[in-house]
């Protein structure tokens, strides 16, 4: 019983250390566009959620994108190179992962879209 306790304590200590060290180094703030505007934080990457506006500019065969992400009142320009999820289009909510540059443009290294786990596109209202 004592040995069981010691083994548990050792594993618990290791897991605790791993969780602590890993989450300290790699957690990111999850913000809306207005929260980003209000706090204007910091160093490190952040994830910013907002709705894609109707001004998507593609260049380089669609691999380079600029678009405005907006929530309620605040908006920001996002610059991103890479492929975007299929459902990416004006009006959907995306989460841009990256940082706000000195030029006021948000440089994203990833753009995630909410995946439709529902079959339907929109709920039916009659």
């Amino acid at each position: 019983m004592i040995r069981w306790g010691i083994a548990m304590a050792v594993v618990a200590a290791c897991v605790g250390y791993l969780v602590y060290s890993a989450s300290g180094g790699s957690s990111e703030y999850y913000l809306t566009v207005s929260e980003l505007r209000a706090h204007s934080p910091t160093t490190g990457d952040v994830r910013v959620a907002g709705v894609v506006q109707d001004d998507i500019q593609r260049s380089d065969g669609g691999l380079h994108l600029r678009f405005t992400e907006k929530d309620g009142t605040a908006s920001m320009l996002v610059d991103y190179t890479g492929t975007v999820p299929d459902i990416f289009r004006p009006g959907i909510t995306v989460v841009a992962d990256g940082r706000l540059g000195a030029d006021g443009v948000f440089h994203a290294r990833a753009v995630l879209a909410k995946c439709p786990s529902r079959f339907s596109t929109t709920p039916y209202t009659s």
Binding site: M1, R3, W4, A7, M8, V11, A12, C14, V15, L18, V19, S21, A22, S23, G25, S26, S27, E28, Y29, Y30, L31, E35, H39, R47, A49, R58, D60, G61, G62, L63, T81, G82, T83, P85, D86, I87, F88, R89, G91, V95, D97, L112, A113, K114, C115, P116, S117, R118, F119, S120, T121, T122, P123, Y124, S126
Partner: protein, 667 residues
């Protein structure tokens, strides 16, 4: 049914009424079965136990009837039902219309209840030997769980709600989901989720009945293995689907939806191992109950998380009224489980003498602790947004967190998987060190080879080498079996007898081998994936990781509901055709068709990012080494589960002391 009937409004209304009626009847029967089974079990009234049990079968029949009615409504395009309108349309292929049964919130709950009803009935039919009272309590608990689902289905999320005006067509299916994967991944995952309730019910029933001996384990283990097999298949199929359809070159993103499916799998993996310690040595009794209950609680917790939308996820499930219901259900299940364990704590003390640290028991114990550690890591990562959001600004963690925190635990688990099966029960002696030569040799061989090849990343070195060591241990076990078979005189019938007699043993090792193959695929594709973004004119070439692709040109095709650009890329003798479709009817949503050239060594994975006016096209190209090993490993694991679970022989629940010391490698 005739077509004339379909146009008749009375029929259509009747279908919805019949469905609602079946659910309501199911609810009454389930509640009746729960109450009666508990009372009859307590009173040990054999007749009433039978009645309670039959009420459970009748509940399952009612749910099945409701399921058939919903499927009929979908297949006949009965757009008077809101569910049919919201989840299908006339242009959707018929197989996907059928799949809409479990594609939406309400239908998936009905599907869940259906699986629980069917598996629950099977488990009760097979429970003749475990004692009347225990079986009655188990029926009562399963009926109580079904009662919860049916209350939700009747009151909050009915698939049989009727629209006031019947529209001419439905809203259809998002194109991302218009894929064959939709036909197999969701039903397997949902069935896996549903099946965890069976081991939970029997464990809780054993505690209620005060039967903490190993009798319940023999029964529970089988259904735990069913749940584990379904969940393994569901996880691998999910990865397969994401990889082939979503076009980001990966298969696992540590999203909350993936995490909550992974955690019950981890808890059940722990249980399948620790239950052997109880069967063989009579120890870890309370721990085993705890693990079975934990797996079920994690399933309910996961359902609550993904259906309530309280943590940010790439997946959005319909945020609906069922969140609070599942939260309440989670609370009740948690209180019930903890209360039951506390109530029986006195009976759960182990009477067997403790084993030395280096023994099979010791290895299983350490493995269990490490698996719980992984659950803690994943749980914390999933819940961090919620916890940090309560304390201040919301924070999230990405894959880096999981790799750093869970990675070392996975390495330790692999090392245990390589050595553990060779460690004998109770006492390790000289034979252990001799047999460890095999995995140690395989480990050293691959480590040296990788070092010579210039690999310097420690996680890659350890992950791949240890996976090979795991495989070596399994091969060694099988080689020993072949040796015994030769010694016994050989012959096919004898080989068959040998395998069949110890199928649990060989099934388990087959699952180990599958996992080793899967880990090799995961590690190689994770550490050595190569990626290139490129824009090419027709005739131009690009080289990625030694693969040369030539862009031939792009074609535009106009089809019924969408238009698509199809690019042609030649790779060696074959032509890859990545495409991008645009659905005008769905707000111009586009859909990528990834082109994959798969071989055992590497997949060449081409995504068409876009096309330009001058005939050039942009691509994102991945080279993913050994990805096909992941799918092969998954298939081997399922074979192992099938072998290990096929008509298991009666497990003798002999007193521990009567057992003689077992030889190395026996299980």
């Amino acid at each position: 049914m005739s077509v004339a009937l379909l146009d008749h409004p009375v029929y259509i209304v009747t279908l919805a009424f019949l469905g609602s009626g079946a659910l309501l009847a199911g609810l009454v029967l389930a509640a009746f079965s729960a109450l009666l089974s508990f009372w009859a079990g307590y009173a040990e009234n054999g007749v009433m136990i039978q009645v309670g049990r039959r009420a459970f079968y009748a509940t399952a029949a009612m749910i099945l009837a409701a399921g058939v009615l919903l499927e009929t409504a979908l297949l006949t395009h009965d757009f008077s039902l809101a569910y049919v309108v919201e989840h299908s349309d006339l242009s959707t292929p018929i197989a996907l219309v059928a799949a809409a049964f479990y594609g939406g919130q309400e239908g998936s709950l009905l599907y869940w209840a259906l699986i629980l009803g069917i598996l629950g009935s099977a488990s009760l039919l097979a429970s003749a030997r475990i004692g009347l009272r225990l079986a009655a309590y188990a029926a009562g608990i399963m009926a109580a769980i079904l009662t919860f689902f049916l209350v939700v289905l009747v009151l909050v999320a009915s698939p049989f709600d009727v629209l006031q005006i019947t529209p001419p067509d439905g809203l259809g299916l998002n194109p991302v989901l218009r894929d064959g994967g939709m036909l197999i991944h969701p039903p397997v995952v949902l069935a896996g989720f549903a099946s965890f309730a069976i081991p939970f019910s029997f464990a809780a029933a054993a505690l209620l009945a005060g039967r903490s001996d190993a009798a319940w384990i023999a029964h529970t283990r089988r259904f735990a293995l069913v749940a584990w097999g379904l969940q393994s298949a569901g996880l691998v199929l999910g990865m397969w689907w994401a990889y082939h359809v979503l076009g980001w070159g990966g298969y696992w993103g540590w999203d909350p939806v993936e995490n909550v499916a992974f955690m019950p799998w981890l808890a059940t993996t722990a249980y399948l191992h620790s239950s052997q310690v109880q069967e063989r040595r009579g120890r870890l009794r309370g721990w085993n109950f705890g693990l079975v209950m934990l797996a079920f609680l994690l399933v309910v917790f996961g359902t609550f998380i993904v259906r309530s939308g309280i943590v940010p996820s790439v997946h959005t499930f319909a945020v609906s009224a069922i969140g609070p219901w599942f939260f309440g259900f989670l609370g009740v299940c948690l209180l019930f489980s903890v209360g039951l364990l506390a109530f029986r704590a006195g009976d759960l003390k182990s009477h067997a003498e403790p084993a030395p640290a280096v023994s099979r028991e010791g290895a299983f114990t350490l493995q269990n602790l490490l698996l719980i550690g992984v659950i803690v890591v994943v749980f914390w990562g999933t819940m961090l947004p919620l916890v940090s959001g309560m304390l201040g600004q919301q924070r999230v963690v990405g894959p880096t967190y999981y790799e750093r925190a869970a990675g070392p635990l996975f390495v330790a688990l692999l090392a245990l998987m390589a050595a553990g099966p060779l460690v004998p029960w109770r006492h390790a002696g000289a034979p252990l060190w001799r047999s460890l030569r095999w995995p140690a040799g395989a480990f050293a061989f691959l480590l040296a080879a990788l070092l010579v090849a210039g690999v310097r990343s420690l996680p890659a070195l350890l992950g791949l080498s240890l996976a090979l060591a795991v495989a070596a241990t399994v091969v060694y076990e099988y080689a020993r079996a072949v040796g015994r078979w030769r010694l016994a005189g050989g012959g096919w019938s004898r080989a068959l007898t040998l395998v069949v007699r110890r199928r649990r043993h060989y099934g388990a090792y087959l699952a180990h081998l599958g996992l080793a193959v899967l880990v090799l695929g995961l590690a190689a594709s994770h550490f050595w994936q190569q990626e290139k973004d490129v824009t090419l004119l027709p005739g131009e070439q690009v080289s990625v990781a030694g693969y040369t692709l030539t862009y031939a040109g792009v074609q535009n095709r106009e089809l019924a509901d969408h238009s698509e650009f199809v690019a042609a890329m030649s790779l060696g003798g074959q032509t890859l055709e990545p495409a991008r479709a645009t659905y005008a009817g769905l707000g111009g949503q586009s859909l990528t068709h990834v082109a994959i050239s798969s071989s055992p060594i590497a997949d060449v994975y081409v995504v068409l990012a876009g096309t330009n006016g001058d005939g050039s096209a942009s691509f994102r190209i991945f080279v993913n080494p050994l990805v096909s090993w992941i799918w092969a490993g998954g298939a081997i694991i399922i074979l192992g589960v099938l072998l290990g679970n096929a008509g298991e022989r009666r497990v003798a629940v002999a007193p521990v002391a009567a057992r003689v010391r077992s030889p190395v490698g026996a299980s």
